[in-house]
């Protein structure tokens, strides 16, 4: 019997209609991993030595004594060469009859996580992964100073099928003068719950999921990785702090270590289980306005790319998922990572 499940935060309904097969169809068919056997790289603007092919860096973690925009970096952040939004100018909100618009002001940056062309987030060493987390944080802190911006989206497209235009692993950052619709919906849903219960909805979800266990992939002292109750996609996985924390940029030193640990472990499990699928992930955090928010709780959402989303989802906002989250969680828990490389 298929079931309909409601995401308690956004009120989005999902049809969970298991097909019976463990591995979902349309996933694991495309392998997004590249290796030297795939042939020559061609020109890659994200590789060491090609620093001049990108706009000048805004941040880099480098070996002592090396100069900006030259080799010697381990992680590098540059503005996107083809930005969706532009950093200069004012917003100029205006109307056109029934319509509203403003200038496309914003920041669009690329975080190159490693100089290694064949590197992958899931293959980074613990220390390197921590650096990625610090880079996200450093960029948020810096861009928050610009009062034109209301929200920063940090997201990753890995593999062409997931929207990546270059195979060299990287994360993108977009600072926006608006709070995007889906974030707003989450915030509104969380506020609604808070008004009713005076508790953070995500704290309640974390507690219930850890108690229940059937959708949990793994936990450590500070974080839990789980399959949400009403996932839109097969193997959709969230990573949440166990303690209430509204803003990602407030992450503490110990927490960053534990986040790197669980994030790396989760990605490894997904890569192993589904044979290096293309995937997306996105950081959901609170808008800039307030320092602390009682009702919202930052988290990462990871979505392995499966069958192309068809017209039904696009036009209705209503999803059909053929893999139950309990099955996906059990599958990911059982992945053996001993020979992962």
């Amino acid at each position: 019997m298929p079931t309909l499940r409601k995401d308690p935060i956004t009120d989005r309904w999902v049809i969970i209609s298991p097909t019976g097969s463990k591995k979902p169809s349309g996933i694991g068919q495309v392998c997004s991993r590249i290796t030297p056997e795939d042939g020559p790289i061609g020109f890659c603007p994200f590789c060491t030595g090609n620093e001049t092919a990108t706009p000048p860096e805004v941040l880099a973690y480098r070996q002592a004594g090396t100069k900006p925009n030259e080799p010697g970096w381990t992680l590098r952040v540059t503005p996107n060469k083809f930005p969706a939004l532009r950093i200069e100018g004012s917003l100029d909100r205006t109307g056109e009859g029934v319509y509203d618009k403003m200038n496309g002001v914003g920041a669009h940056e690329v975080i190159i996580e490693t100089p290694d062309h064949y590197g992958r987030l899931s293959l980074l060493a613990q220390k390197e992964f921590e650096d990625v987390i610090w880079a996200y944080r450093d960029r948020i802190i810096d861009l928050k100073r610009d009062k034109r911006f209301k929200y920063i989206l940090i997201f990753k497209n890995q593999g062409a099928e997931a929207g990546a235009s270059l195979p060299h692993t990287h994360t993108q950052l977009i600072a926006l003068p608006i709070v995007p619709q889906m974030v707003n919906e989450e915030l509104e849903g969380a506020k609604r719950y808070y008004r009713y219960k005076e508790r953070c909805i995500l704290c309640d979800i974390v507690r219930q999921e850890i108690n229940d266990g059937s959708r949990v992939v793994s936990t450590n002292d500070d974080f839990v990785a789980l399959e949400p109750f009403a996932p839109r996609f097969p193997f959709e996985t969230w990573i949440l702090p166990r303690q209430h924390d509204s803003h990602f940029e407030d992450i503490k030193k110990n927490e960053a270590e534990n986040l790197a640990r669980i994030f790396s472990d989760t990605l490894k499990r997904i890569m192993k289980a589904l044979n290096w699928p293309p995937y997306n992930f996105m950081l959901h955090t609170s808008p800039f306005d307030d320092m602390v928010v009682e009702y919202y709780h930052w988290h990462f959402e990871i979505i392995p790319k499966s069958t192309r989303v068809a017209g039904f989802e696009w036009g209705s906002g209503f999803f059909i998922n053929h893999t139950a989250p309990e099955e996906a969680a059990a599958f990911l828990r059982d992945v053996d990572l001993t020979d992962f490389k």
């Binding site: 989005r12 619709q181 017209g311 059909i320």
Partner: protein, 343 residues
């Protein structure tokens, strides 16, 4: 300068990114597999009616019998339904979570008995039959009190092997109101409460006066690129006569809709290298609002058709934010299709 535009109905912001501007001819849609000849295995061909579940309705030639040949359009339950019709909803809570049984209907409108024939090549009279079948199914499904909404949509060229390369439309009747419809209704209601006018009618008036985003029109319909288009060449078809429900479509409107839809599909096929596309009918739900005090859905909602050619890939940014980056301005897209004559 890129622009941020707000969709007046859903409130969704879209980035029209001129920096990454793409000319209409720069898009290369994903290559579609060439229609396989299923020989004698396509269950939707005429003569193989026994391969589907018994038909729910069909438009047939006089003297032909149920589940036999002689039909123009045939509606059958999907063999692998995502929702099933038997049972009750059984709404339950699991701690803080809510769930219910997957009750509903999942039907297929087989658009043609001819294998491989597609909408842009059909006679207008055949498209009219399909449009009538859509209407009849909504009327019938809304009689079931468990059904809150009937979604009618088409995925053309998207995983075509799942439909044996036979042109079909899908119907999913759900016991809940889909999120996007809810948002549209809320947006339209807010505007109506403020102005006492239908938002869709106002948009239509402005688009007709302005003309920049108009792609096509006839007596009954306006076909235009929405101001805050999420993707290149997205198009909306609005009936000029205000009506909240598709079920009230008139005979003349069916004729005009078949004409304008066919012309649009021919244009995107010829002009945009035969892209896959989604087509979706948005109509009012049967009950929501009707029983509530101050319900204005008759006046504030306006049924319409949305067509979205699939030319870009949705990435993490779009999924996670609900904010879309569109590399082609709707004005440019509309102009290209308006002026495109060679279809």
């Amino acid at each position: 300068m890129p622009e941020l535009r707000k969709d007046p109905i859903s409130g969704r912001w879209v980035i029209i990114s001129t920096e990454r501007s793409k000319r209409p001819d720069a898009f290369v849609p994903e290559a579609q597999p060439s229609p396989a000849d299923y020989g004698d295995s396509c269950p939707y061909d005429e003569g193989r009616e026994y391969m589907t579940r018994p038909e729910i309705m069909a438009l047939r030639r006089k003297g032909t019998g149920k589940d036999g040949p002689g039909w123009w359009v045939r509606v059958v339950p999907n063999n692998v339904p995502v929702l099933q019709i038997e049972g009750d909803l059984g709404r339950t809570g699991v701690g803080m979570f809510d769930m219910m049984n997957g009750i509903g209907a999942h039907e297929l409108i087989i658009e043609t008995p001819k294998h491989g024939e597609v909408l842009p090549d059909m006679e207008e009279t055949q498209i009219e039959r399909i449009l009538w079948a859509c209407r009849d199914r909504i009327v019938d499904l809304y009689r079931d009190k468990r059904i809150k909404y009937v979604l009618i949509f088409k995925n053309s060229g998207i995983n075509p092997e799942t439909t044996f390369f036979h042109s079909i439309i899908q119907i999913v009747a759900t016991p809940i109101l889909p999120k996007q419809i809810k948002e549209e209704m809320a947006g339209a209601k807010t505007y109506y409460d403020f102005k006492e006018r239908c938002l869709y009618c106002d948009i239509m008036r402005q688009e007709l006066a302005d003309g920049d985003r108009v792609i096509d029109e006839n007596n009954s319909f306006l076909l235009f690129a929405p101001y805050a288009s999420r993707s290149p060449f997205e198009a909306n078809i609005f009936p000029k006569q205000h009506a909240s429900s598709y079920t009230s479509i008139t005979k003349d409107e069916v004729t005009d809709l078949a004409v304008i839809l066919k012309r649009f599909l021919r244009k995107i096929r010829a002009g945009l290298k035969d892209p896959p596309y989604n087509l979706m009918l948005h109509t009012r739900p049967a009950f929501v609002g009707q029983r509530q005090e101050g319900a204005t859905i008759e006046m504030d909602y306006h049924w319409h058709v949305e067509v979205v050619p699939k030319l870009t890939k949705l990435a993490g940014f779009e999924w996670g934010s609900g904010c879309y980056i569109n590399p082609t301005s709707p004005e440019e897209g509309a102009k290209f299709l308006r002026d495109f004559k060679d279809y």
